[in-house]
Symmetry: D2
Subunit: 392 residues, 4 copies
């Protein structure tokens, strides 16, 4: 059995809330469904609050816990550091871990600024020379339907990409009484909808098309500038107290873009699209065909082949659960769909595979920096009358 024969790789995780729970499920589940070349050992979970970290360890299945991220980086039995904290701490932890010779998986966005991201890329490049890898967690890349979209583009089934239409729509802030959290605090989160969810669709658009965004013109807005200070928080929701504080990030963003292949892009990210809970929608129109995806129906990819006989041409609703689709053979029979967290398991599978093979897993920190530059360009454009900001 692969499970037994594979060498161990000790994993330490920093952060244990929403993302920490998702990553833990991935570390626990990957060895049960996939033949892994390295067997992850869930050594330690760490956080600022030691008691909470200990409770998280018990609940999430980690062998131990620690107060503060430093322990994780220092432990000899940890070979990989998994960073699930808010963006303001990514650079510090990732650089330290890489310098300590640990592989790193870092949640997105890579950092809260281009400068931080550049430091991280430098650290990753230095570490790479010693066989240490670094990966950023744009997890949605590993939804099987997204992988199929990329594959169709890569195989030329879409021809020249003319249009990218990408939206990430949520509505958890449309209620003006939703309380403040670190996600609404610029010092912690860097930005709001832009960096939290906009970053995902930027990455997906570039990943699926295999092209880069070469310039943007953008808008940012904060619709509700003051909110209750949270009395209690859980996941994305919570309950506010009587005190109120300022929202220091954007509530919503929209931007136009140019793709490196000559197509036009239209992007949107918001937490105010009432009725849309986690709608990541991407449509790409090429000269030979189109694909469309909506995370609200995540096991499905719509594909139109424009070269077909018009009599029977039409968007195919591909249920991406066949054994021939990426990752699926390890799960269930056709038609037995996957859920949100499965992409995290795929992320771990690919990361462990790359480490074992000695290759660099994608998305790299450089990919994360690329997204960061787009985020910064959108902010720059938005603060200068939506003027065009080119990207190198």
């Amino acid at each position: 059995m692969a499970v037994k024969e594979s060498p161990d790789l000790g994993v330490g995780m920093v952060g244990y809330s929403f993302m920490g729970a998702a990553h833990s499920q991935a570390w626990r589940t990957a060895p049960r469904f996939f033949d892994l070349p390295l067997h992850p050992r869930m050594r330690v979970v760490a956080g600022r609050d030691g008691a909470a970290a200990a409770a998280a360890a018990a609940r999430l299945g980690w062998e131990g816990s620690a107060t503060g991220w430093q322990t994780v980086v220092e432990r000899d039995d940890v070979g990989l550091v998994d960073i699930c904290t808010p963006g303001d701490t990514h650079a510090e932890i990732a650089v330290a871990a890489l310098e300590a010779g640990k592989h790193v998986l870092c949640e997105k966005p890579l950092a809260n600024s281009v400068a931080e991201a550049e430091t991280m890329v430098a650290a990753a490049e230095a570490a790479a020379r010693h066989g240490i890898v670094a990966m950023v967690g744009f997890t949605y890349r590993r939804v099987p339907a997204i992988r199929l979209a990329r594959r169709l583009v890569a195989e030329g089934r879409l021809g020249t990409v003319r249009h990218v239409r990408a939206q990430y729509l949520q509505d958890w802030l449309s209620d003006e009484d939703t309380p403040l959290s670190w996600r609404l605090d610029k010092t912690k989160a860097g930005s709001g909808a832009l960096g939290d969810i906009g970053a995902h669709v930027i990455d997906l658009a570039q990943y699926i098309t295999g092209e880069r965004i070469t310039g943007v013109s953008g808008l940012l807005d904060t619709f509700v500038t003051e909110r209750p200070v949270a009395a209690e928080l859980s996941g994305l929701s919570g309950r506010g107290g009587p005190e109120r504080g300022a929202v220091t990030v954007d509530d919503a963003t929209a931007f136009l873009a140019r793709m490196s292949g000559g197509g036009m892009g239209v992007f949107e990210a918001t937490r105010y699209a009432t009725g849309r809970k986690n709608a990541i929608r991407i449509e790409i129109n090429g000269s030979a065909g189109s694909v469309a995806f909506d995370f609200e129906d995540m096991n499905v990819l719509h594909f139109h082949d424009a070269t077909e006989d018009p009599v029977t041409a039409g968007f195919r609703r591909i249920v991406v659960t066949e054994p021939q689709h990426d990752y699926i053979a390890s799960w269930w029979p056709a038609g037995h769909g996957l859920g949100y967290e499965h992409a995290f398991t795929h992320q771990v599978v690919d990361l462990l595979g790359a480490i074992a093979d000695g290759t660099q897993p994608e998305p790299t920190f450089a990919d994360g920096l690329g997204v960061q530059k787009v985020l910064e360009a959108v902010e720059r454009s938005a603060t200068t009358g939506s003027g065009w900001v080119p990207l190198a």
Copy 2:
């Protein structure tokens, strides 16, 4: 029977191709399903080619035909001039008709420039003082599902509008061999996707929300700059000959907008969205609810009421074919859907009602001018690095 007792109103139409056929069907059909206060008499259809006009009269059900639009404007038995020609002739014909004391229905976009549109508005205002009305043919306003969307916004069911997301997607130019036609000739059409189809979604966004666009930042592009000269044309399609000529209009446009109520808008119009034939998609997210529409499923409006119990809240798929919905009681029982041309019949019904009532039908020429100003602002922004162009 209303049909018999209503006084006659003589109608003369200029142009007899795609739009002429649609308008003719409306003039013929309206009296058969609606109780009209005025009975339209289809007096004459005119065009540059007299033989073609005569053939069109026979086929489309007009009593007679004429060469050149002047006859239509001059005839005593014509009380209303219906302009179905390309945009470059709208101003001339409409102004002459209004000055001759004829009511005018003019296809969109109102004109090929703001200057022309302003002349037309002036003529319409002068004519209005004599009880003469002028209306521009943003026909999609009269799709029952669109009317319902507007009604829900007007009743406050959406609360404050945060997002407008509007696309008009076609794909008939994605084939690089689709031949040139007047729609690709700037001197005839004024602009390409922007004015032809973008104008519709601009109007719809403003109509449904009851708000104005207050500024834009835009992109325009022509993906295929040279095409075969048409050997034969029919509707939007045709067959090209060996000669090639320049495309002088935009193939696609995208622009960001601000709405007068503070919301963000994202607009797109293209003829290169492979697999999308006539997809007019509008989604509006407000603080209290959302609506979504796609013309590919034109009898349906999706509506989400964000004030409902989350346990049972969800986008309702409203099949807008109930007798309580606008226009429907005159057609078929519930569930027996309408098609593309029905909105033209509704347009005629509303126009005749307004003339009989002595009220001004909407959309007015001023509304058409408003759309024209948005078109011009998008072009201005697109040619100046997508910089923000405010609208008065």
Copy 3:
């Protein structure tokens, strides 16, 4: 112009309510969009109530009117009789018209009993020997998406048909206060949901597959046995008075069937499917592919090709509005959908074409008799413990 050069064919219609309005729209519209070999002249509309018939003539565009159907059959200037009355009068009128040498278009179901239908078939066969044609109005056959479904089966794209799943769902009786009408009276309508709407899906299933139903096992039920007597009626809806009367037909039916090719069928027809207004849903699964249709989205056919690479196989949402699709080239550009009444126009076009060609249009009266036999078999099974009733 074909319109002018074609010889005239005088048409007389009996009945002028829901179906009469739909047929009139077809007679008026067909010559405006299609090149017809015969030009229909709308001579006369007749009914029991002479004043109502006269009003209908004015509203629906008939040259004259008459009291009673006999006049229509007798007039020399009428070459075709269009029967839009309840089923109890079909046989009498159709036989008289055929014997008088008139072509006949008769609404479905062909008759209220197999015996009546057999008489009609005999009359049609006799008339056929003199070049007179008879056609039954299973109009939905002429929805372009249904035509495409049949074509795909005929071309072998579905392989061997394994499953037919057909439902006709309405909900206008789910309100227990919906008043009585002739459709709920067995002496007029013959049966309820079974014959009114079940007949349509029986015909469609046989038409699309090209197979016959060879046996059935059925259920019939009347959920609400007493209803208000109608004070006022319009289309399918109305307002009841204080008096109550018995419902003498079925409210709903369901039956199992065997197809002549060896497949299984499951059929359902009801007026109690809350939220489904006119949902004609047909799905056919064959060894090589499947098709699925829902009239609530009538311009679309879903088609799955099971011989394709599983990586990209999926139900294609074919928007059946391309010029290559049946009937479409005469209407609008791609993506500009048709509505309920267009199939009536197609019916008239095909009927006139057949008369001009000297061929027998389909569906024939024999087809109508075939459906009638299925209806009778379902009733027989339902009254004998759902036992199997074979069909010759």
Copy 4:
């Protein structure tokens, strides 16, 4: 932490293929997301092939393994026996386990015959007197959207149930070369599509409506009577060798039913619905509203409230991922959908809760027997000309 403080409950599982993998994921995952009153300890997995059982233990996370089910029943540290074997062994194992004082979770269908199922119910009733519980694995009951459907019916939101329309559609046998497996062998599986997947929709229909099926009329068929003997098998697919053997079960079934509340039911189960991979579709129409579900979009329930203003009434697409929906608060934020295996985790959570509370978890063995009786009645009807078979 609940995880630590809860008393342990030793679990032993028999069988380790498709269902064994799903159950193991549930036992592993439940304590990580839910606060459980009993902590499941995965003691042992057993099967006929000891080496395969040992491998499965390592892969699936069980502490140990055993050859043959007897060991599991006998071990002192096992308090619950989880039966994931083919149906022919259910009765023997379950009865032995219950007699040994072990709680039992048994995969569906409960048994291969009514007689066996009755023995199991008797054993369960005897065990219940000693506080031992028995549950049958109709897992789909625990999909949140199905729970919501049941809740809406129970709250009266649907009124009187008029129609149940239930289909379980797969297509893995439509390829005539798909090899034989135990699922096609009557001695192992009891029946084919009927018991394997039909059982699920029978249970769901009764569960959601809270009613019983009181009689049926059915059809069964085997379209492909001979298939290759399997050379290799995995999940539902596999590869056949040159030898061929007889299919001894049904490929497809369809049956009509009466519900105890007076409504009609139409059921279908097949493995030949090309393009439908695991489509469990249930629509229920009541006098006050309707619900519709399709497992291909498992996080969604469609609900129509027929008492609403017709202007805005329509099927709501409820994305059943709100914290107010059953089970969801323990998983992810709204919009982050669940997958196929999550219902297995919910099953374990509810089972452990019932054991801790001393209540009987549902579905009981008596529920399983009820389904078995429906299966038998359908078979009886199918072999006697589809005549009606009443159920007590």
